[in-house]
């Protein structure tokens, strides 16, 4: 039999699913003793080159409460043309179209290799994709120019039939009418007044006047052009017009006096964007793309006043309950986010400013709707330009890597219940027999809405084993989970992707080693981290850290091998060996530590952590460090201060940053210009190698990471120094000797100290 590592990888590639446990403890009690919950990371739209969608409707279980999709795990009676649902055991007739099936003539969904299958269904008329730009005009001239160019460029990337709209805002909010000839026309709203969706639609003239129905004459809806056409127009019709409009876009004309921030009505602008789409295209795939260059400073959703002398809230202010506008603003954006999600639209936030822009308050807009969040210093940077461009990247079929208005439904076999999900989703509040009362993340439902997702969007889904200890599962029994994702493909087709997986049950008392061996520590680390980050959003940081520590100690106690009270005897098996290290780095990560990060940065980091797939999440927890030197080919090295050597070039990928660090000697050589001398061409190659590798990462990453090229002693080196394990600090410098690595000036504990404590606590009989 293949190793679990292979099994896990194979499953991930086929289904986009990775479970924390691949053999499941068979009772509720045992499951809770496993410390790490039974959970999985699911990438609903994982790119599968070998998965051609089928062009028919899925077959559903006829039991109203179940409606599971026919899958390879179902028992089929080919003669009676019956199939038994593997979730509720209902026996179902095949639909008439399946009359010809037999053991050798199976439909795809019954074949084992199609545990994940995608259906294309024909429902309703396809509606084009909608892109609504919401653009801040309180920008510096240079920034605005860059943003305008980016937006103009983006028009060429949109599908020609896609609808596009433009809202600009500053002190006022302008909704631009795109259809008119000649004079450019826009509807203007006060930036300080929150309007209901109804008011917005009235003011934009979107409500149709009541036309008295004439007797004996059937209503002909085709008579009137679609009323929304004024604000949302097909790209191919108005791209020239819109390009000109964008070109003429001026900076917000209202004077900003010395010592004031420009008045920016982001809250109302978003509200209008949401209201506009709500009234015109509910339940259609639509992206609201917010481009903002500063914090909202007036009206509902304002984050900071316009006085420059009062700075925008910091973590310190928030702890001291000193952030005046935070609660109200957050509530405003939450309401908007919920409305947006209810309509199946999504909100992207592209925030470019040197100071904070209020991402903390606005984060829910992106988080709940599956929108993107991007943070940069200026719109005139490649960071923004390329990130924005990448939003419109296409897959190998030439389709956009984006999907809209998805609902994810999870079905479980009877022994399992669903505790919740963490990811870019919102609860649909669908109660059912398989919904657990114990919530983890967004719980209390078996269905979630994901308004926008791309092939890398990943949700963590947490389960609870509900089988009682005294009701054992027969030997060889398997638990099954089915994920049904319905979504609007970027080609505007409706599609349904169904993934059905099964795992073996095992009795934790007699077969603990099986369960232990089937532990997936990588995904477990990410799943625990997501829980931690989810908690950190609502709880105090230290509480979360304490909870994580406790979980780690309990895990070590449960699965470590040791003699009581003898830390030196402590051992962990291979399948757990990396887990404590992940936890160490997670504790230090910006997802849980707010020190040195603004609230906006924390929100940004957490946003991405809660939606990226496993590989990316692991990089975020524990950045990757590569070393380039003359002593051998490039190799990954420990994320440790001992890896920082004078004759090395280091390449660190933290997901958000790519750091190239030249060791002291390398930097001196480079300054001396050796790379330009023909006899030192190998040095030139050495310098080039990390650049090429970095380029490769930059090419695929979304959002674009911050690219930092630095060297020993430079201020930018802090990005590297803050990430590595501080094994050498000013405290123990001499104990370690000067030869290896460079000391970090920090009081943080190193991995070694952390592990020593962990061992001590794990083996302690007191706890």
């Amino acid at each position: 039999m293949a190793t679990y590592l292979e099994f896990i990888q194979q499953n991930e590639e086929r289904d986009g699913v990775r479970f924390s446990w691949n053999v499941w403890p068979s009772s509720r009690l045992e499951a809770t003793r496993m410390v790490v919950p039974l959970a999985c990371l699911l990438t609903p739209l994982k790119e599968r080159l070998d998965l051609p969608p089928v062009q028919y409707e899925p077959v559903l279980c006829s039991r109203q409460t179940c409606k599971a999709v026919l899958n390879p795990l179902c028992q089929v009676d080919y003669r009676a043309k019956l199939w038994a649902c593997n979730f509720c055991f209902q026996r179902n007739q095949f639909p008439p179209a399946y009359a010809g099936i037999s053991e050798i003539n199976q439909p795809a969904e019954l074949m084992p290799q199609f545990s994940t299958i995608e259906y294309i269904v024909q429902r309703g008329s396809p509606t084009p994709l909608i892109f609504l730009y919401v653009v801040d005009t309180c920008l510096e001239e240079e920034d605005l120019q860059a943003l305008k160019e980016s937006l103009q460029m983006s028009l060429s990337l949109l599908p020609p039939e896609a609808l596009v709209g433009l809202i600009t805002f500053g002190r006022m909010v302008q909704v631009h009418e795109l259809s008119c000839e000649g004079i450019s026309k826009s509807y203007v709203f006060r930036g300080t007044k929150d309007l209901t969706a109804k008011q917005i639609q009235d003011m934009l003239g979107l409500t149709r006047p009541v036309v008295p129905v004439q007797q004996g004459r059937p209503l002909q809806p085709q008579e009137q052009p679609p009323i929304s056409s004024r604000f949302l127009q097909p790209v191919h019709k108005i791209d020239m017009n819109l390009t000109d409009l964008l070109g003429e876009l001026q900076r917000d004309p209202w004077p900003v006096t010395q010592g004031k921030r420009p008045l920016r009505s982001t809250g109302v602008a978003l509200s209008i964007a949401v209201g506009l789409l709500e009234g015109t295209f509910p339940n259609t795939g639509a992206r609201i793309m917010l481009f903002t260059g500063g914090p909202p400073t007036q009206g509902p959703g304002m984050v900071v006043g316009d006085e420059l002398k009062t700075p925008i809230r910091s973590w310190h202010d928030i702890e001291k309950d000193n952030a005046r506008f935070m609660k109200k603003a957050t509530k405003h954006y939450e309401t908007l986010a919920n409305r947006t999600a209810a309509n199946g639209h999504c909100i992207d936030i592209y925030a470019c400013a040197l100071d904070q822009t209020g991402l903390l308050e606005m984060k829910c807009c992106a988080n709940l709707t599956g929108g993107h969040m991007m943070m940069g210093d200026s719109f005139n940077t490649s960071l923004f330009k390329q990130t924005f461009q990448r939003v419109f990247s296409k897959d190998f079929n030439g389709e956009f890597r984006m999907a809209f208005g998805a609902t994810l439904e999870v079905k479980t076999s009877r022994e399992l219940k669903i505790s919740g999900a963490i990811g870019p989703c919102i609860s649909l509040n669908a109660k059912g027999p398989c919904v657990s009362e114990n919530e983890l993340g967004i719980g209390g439902t078996c269905q979630w809405k994901i308004c926008s997702l791309d092939p890398s969007s990943t949700l963590a889904i947490y389960f609870e084993v509900v089988n009682q200890h005294n009701a054992p599962i027969p030997q060889g029994g398997r638990g099954a989970v089915q994920f049904v994702t319905q979504y609007q493909h970027s080609s505007t087709q409706r599609r349904i992707r169904v993934t059905t997986i099964a795992r073996n049950w095992a009795d934790a008392q007699s077969q603990l080693q099986h369960i232990e061996a089937a532990f997936d520590q990588e995904v477990a680390a990410v799943l625990m981290a997501r829980l931690g980050v989810y908690r950190a959003e609502s709880e105090e940081g230290p509480d979360v850290l304490r909870w994580l520590d406790r979980q780690l100690i309990r895990l070590c106690q449960k699965f470590g091998q040791y003699n009581k009270d003898d830390p030196n005897s402590f051992r962990l098996s291979d399948s757990f060996s990396l887990y404590p290290q992940f936890m160490f780095h997670l504790r230090r990560s910006p997802f849980l530590q707010v020190f040195n990060n603004s609230p906006d940065e924390s929100s940004f980091y957490r946003h991405h952590f809660s939606r990226q797939d496993l590989t990316q999440s692991l990089i975020m927890i524990q950045p990757i460090l590569y070393s380039y030197s003359f002593s051998g080919p490039p190799e990954p090295v420990l994320l440790d201060s001992s890896s920082i050597l004078a004759d090395r070039i280091l390449l660190m990928d933290t997901f958000f940053q790519i750091v190239i660090y030249h060791g002291e000697t390398i930097a001196q050589w480079q300054k001396a210009g050796y790379q330009d001398m023909p006899e030192y061409e190998n040095f030139k190659h050495l310098l080039q190698a990390p650049l090429d590798d970095a380029q490769e990462i930059l090419q695929t990453r979304f959002p674009m990471p911050r690219y930092i090229n630095t060297e020993h002693g430079s201020s930018q080196a802090r990005f590297l120094l803050s990430k590595v394990n501080p094994s050498q600090t000013h405290n123990n410098l001499y104990a370690w000797g000067q030869e290896s690595g460079s000391p970090i000036l920090t009081d943080d504990v190193s991995l070694q100290v952390f592990m020593d404590h962990l061992k001590k606590l794990a083996v302690s009989s007191a706890s």
């Binding site: 006022m172 302008q174 000649g182 004079i183 450019s184 026309k185 826009s186 509807y187 203007v188 709203f189 006060r190 007044k193 309007l195 009235d202 003011m203 934009l204 003239g205 003429e248 001026q250 004309p253 209202w254 004077p255």
Partner: protein, 825 residues
């Protein structure tokens, strides 16, 4: 001269109920030399005259008084060097020379000699008032106002009463101190202003300084006089066009847009400057508002729609108010496009209060004062603040509730007016109604902000267009003071108690005007609060702080000194009837809001009677009680009072549209003396023999009896012009004027053609002359005898019995006479 009415002998054809009257004319025979009565040498002969003739004799006076004054003072130089001298009548052209008192163009008083005590004033019942027209236009042959600039120190003012330095300040102690003429406080002369006195105690620089030698002059104000202590920005004009269905369909929008393209070149500017500093902005609206960005660097204007009419705001600042010269191409582009943009509109609902609000907010945001030009046609029924409903109710007429019709429907307009005034936003309203639009409500803001209301009923582009455009041109080109505040100071013993006009008053002393133009007059009533000193007289200083068209903060000071006397005869001698009528009209029209019409009319009649009775009792030489004796200065008072009583505002009849009454009421409130004179007693000119000489025809009295079948008569009252054609008008006259062969060919629909012959030229020159210096353009209506239009014309024959009630002159005279008799007995 005194006119006596004696009891007449039998033989006159008079209704039996009325006392028969006889005229005895004493002195001034010239009066009788006109017309056919010249040969009447002896008063006794009048006995034998038929009633109608005797009637004419009486009524010749009104015209004659004007003609006499013209003859005696017209064309001369009138110097204002003597305190308390009565100026020539408003109808008389003369050159006025400021020699220490304000020109009568700026201030006219009801009496130039005030009674010295309040008891005396009560006895005489003559209202003491001044009609101040602070920005009156001055003919080119008179000197414009001098501007005094004291630099950073600003104007010199009395420490106690804050009166400004003026010819009434007495310099004492060798010129080191001066005594304020108003409060008698002794002030130090500021060192920079010191000057030695000459042998008669006058400063040696008396004639070099306008503030010492002139009645009217201007001061440059310092920052202390500015809003927020910041120099004001130059004012702005915002054009706000109703683009609802009816205005588009009637072609009005197109007309306005076309006109604006050229008329904006004539924005007012300071004499010495090449271009106007005034900026312009454009808004169109129906149920929502459209603002336009016409910044000069734009290729195309940009339209911004504000649909939040509940809480309207200005969507843009930069680019909304622009210099017309700089943005000409964008503005012209916009004006070309507006009619097309809304060409297929079917929006018929409009908002109104939000429009004013928007304009006001725009000016506020731009931190400048200015004027709104609103072109509106219908009752604002769209859901918005200031929404109005048709509340016209004929049943209320002649009841105690009639006043409701003149009050605004909602108080939104009042608070809006207050905000406008506070922000220096003057609202000019051009109304084009086809039905009731509630002028009383809609015109309120215009009234309070010193704006002008224009109304064109059933507007037709081809027939009413020229009149409207001429009004528009005039309104745009008017010399105006913006963001003005006026204060009237008086010497001790009396004070200003009441103010009438297109003004807003937050307290009892400060007259606030968002703008005040050359046609707006404020009537100020004075009351005694102590005895007046006959030597020092009654002094009045009117100071207007305002922002000039170039955005300079200035003070305009008008000073006038009046005499005081304890003799009633002096008072009656110094009265000015035209000013009295102005006062009576304004106070009556103001009282409409609070009192029933009947009461107001009674008060007017009884006050007239008391004034005359007091004269009769105290000043006239003893004679029989039954004689009606009128003071010389008031001989035309009864005819004017009768005209006032007959004005449609004071005559409640269902046939008269409520809007028309409210409109007239509002117009009169801001009129000056000349305007009220013409408005209440129209000018009727016979045009029979105009070609014979170049002289301006002499007016005849407004009575049907003066019309003749064979004549053409021209009538104007400042709002309307009529050309009345008798049935047997000579064909050559008709050919000359209308270029048609006969009476029957004349169409009343057409405009007066421009024909190259003496008749036409002369007629048009008369029309031009009448039209000049009048605030409103008059539309010419052609009334052919015995045709429908004649009825309209008839109501302006104010000496006859009114169409809608109202006594004829003689009936009224009898009535007053009766009252006087009662008072005397």
């Amino acid at each position: 001269m005194t006119i006596c009415l004696l009891e007449a002998a039998a033989g006159c054809r008079r209704p039996a109920s009325l006392t028969l009257l006889l005229f005895v004319i004493q002195g001034e025979k010239s009066l009788l030399l006109v017309e056919n009565f010249a040969e009447i040498a002896s008063p006794l002969e009048i006995h034998s005259l038929p009633y109608s003739m005797f009637f004419s004799l009486l009524l010749i006076l009104q015209i004659q008084v004007i003609e006499n004054d013209k003859a005696s003072r017209g064309g001369q130089i009138y110097a204002t060097n003597i305190r308390g001298q009565v100026p020539p009548l408003v109808t008389t052209d003369c050159v006025i020379q400021d020699q220490g008192n304000a020109s009568p163009r700026y201030i006219r008083c009801t009496a130039y000699c005030f009674p010295s005590s309040s008891d005396m004033a009560k006895q005489a019942q003559i209202p003491l008032a001044a009609i101040i027209k602070p920005f009156a236009a001055v003919p080119p042959n008179e000197t414009p106002l001098y501007v005094v600039n004291h630099g950073e120190t600003g104007p010199i003012r009395c420490n106690r009463c804050k009166a400004y330095m003026c010819p009434f300040m007495q310099f004492i102690e060798g010129g080191r101190k001066y005594q304020c003429g108003f409060c008698n406080c002794i002030n130090d002369v500021p060192p920079f202003f010191f000057q030695h006195l000459d042998h008669i105690g006058r400063r040696t620089d008396h004639y070099e300084r306008p503030e010492l030698s002139l009645g009217s002059y201007e001061y440059v104000a310092t920052l202390d006089y500015c809003r927020n202590n910041k120099p004001p920005n130059s004012p702005a004009y915002i054009f706000m066009i109703d683009v609802s269905y009816s205005n588009i369909k009637s072609g009005l929008v197109k007309l306005i847009c076309n006109e604006l393209k050229t008329v904006l070149d004539n924005l007012p500017r300071e004499e010495q400057e090449e271009t106007s500093a005034i900026r312009v902005g454009f808004v169109t609206y129906n149920k929502v508002l459209h603002f336009f960005n016409v910044k000069s660097n734009l290729a195309q204007p940009q339209m911004m729609v504000v649909s939040d009419v509940g809480e309207v705001f200005v969507p843009l600042l930069d680019g909304f108010l622009v210099n017309f010269q700089e943005s000409r191409s964008v503005v012209n582009n916009l004006l070309d496009q507006i009619p097309e943009m809304f060409a297929d509109t079917n929006e018929s609902e409009t908002v109104f209060a939000p429009v004013i609000q928007a304009g006001m907010e725009a000016l506020k945001a731009a931190e400048c004062a200015g004027k709104l030009f609103i072109f509106h046609s219908s009752l604002p029924t769209a859901e918005a603040p200031g929404k109005l409903k048709n509340r016209d109710d004929k049943k209320l007429i002649n009841t105690d509730k009639e006043k409701i019709l003149f009050q605004p429907q909602t108080n939104i307009y009042e608070s809006l007016a207050r905000d406008c005034v506070a922000n220096g936003c003057c609202v000019n309203l051009f109304l084009f109604p086809n039905q009731y639009v509630d002028v009383a409500s809609m015109g309120l803001v215009t009234m309070y902000t010193g704006g002008t209301l224009y109304k064109y009923n059933n507007f037709q582009v081809h027939s009413d267009g020229p009149q409207f455009l001429s009004d528009l041109r005039k309104e745009i080109g008017k010399k105006t003071g913006f963001d003005a505040i006026m204060r009237v100071r008086t010497s001790t013993g009396f004070r200003a108690t009441d103010f009438f006009g297109a003004i807003y008053m937050n307290n009892t002393t400060d007259v606030e005007m968002a703008a005040v133009d050359c046609d707006k007059a404020i009537t100020v009533e004075f009351k005694h609060d102590d005895k007046l000193n006959e030597d020092s007289g009654a002094l009045i200083q009117c100071a207007v702080l305002y922002t000039s068209i170039s955005g300079q903060r200035r003070l305009r000071i008008h000073n006038i000194g009046l005499n005081c006397s304890s003799q009633l005869a002096d008072l009656y001698k110094s009265c000015e009837t035209d000013a009295l009528i102005n006062f009576f009209a304004k106070s009556a029209f103001k009282a409409i809001l609070s009192q029933p019409l009947k009461t107001i009319r009674e008060i007017l009649v009884s006050q007239t009677a008391r004034m005359l009775a007091c004269y009769r009792k105290n000043c006239a030489s003893p004679s029989a009680v039954s004689q009606l004796i009128l003071p010389d200065a008031m001989k035309v008072l009864p005819v004017y009072i009768n005209c006032l009583l007959k004005s449609c505002v004071l005559v409640g009849r269902p046939e008269i549209p409520t809007d028309e009454r409210a409109y007239h009421r509002q117009l009169v409130m801001s009129m000056d003396v000349a305007d009220t004179q013409l408005f209440f007693y129209p000018q009727l000119l016979p045009i029979v023999s105009i070609h014979l000489n170049d002289a301006f025809p002499t007016a005849v009295r407004c009575s049907e009896e003066r019309l003749s079948e064979g004549g053409v008569f021209f009538l104007a009252n400042g709002l309307n012009m009529f050309l009345w054609l008798g049935v047997s008008t000579p064909p050559e006259l008709i050919q000359g004027i209308f270029n048609v062969p006969s009476f029957a060919h004349i169409s009343t629909e057409t405009l007066l053609p421009e024909v190259d012959n003496p008749y036409s030229k002369k007629l048009r020159s008369i029309m031009d002359y009448i039209q000049s210096n009048r605030p409103y353009s008059m539309k010419l209506l052609i009334a052919k005898q015995r045709e429908q239009a004649e009825m309209l014309f008839r109501q302006y024959l104010v000496e006859d019995k009114g169409l809608y009630g109202g006594a004829s002159y003689v009936d009224f005279l009898c009535c007053v006479h009766k009252e006087i008799c009662q008072l005397l007995s």
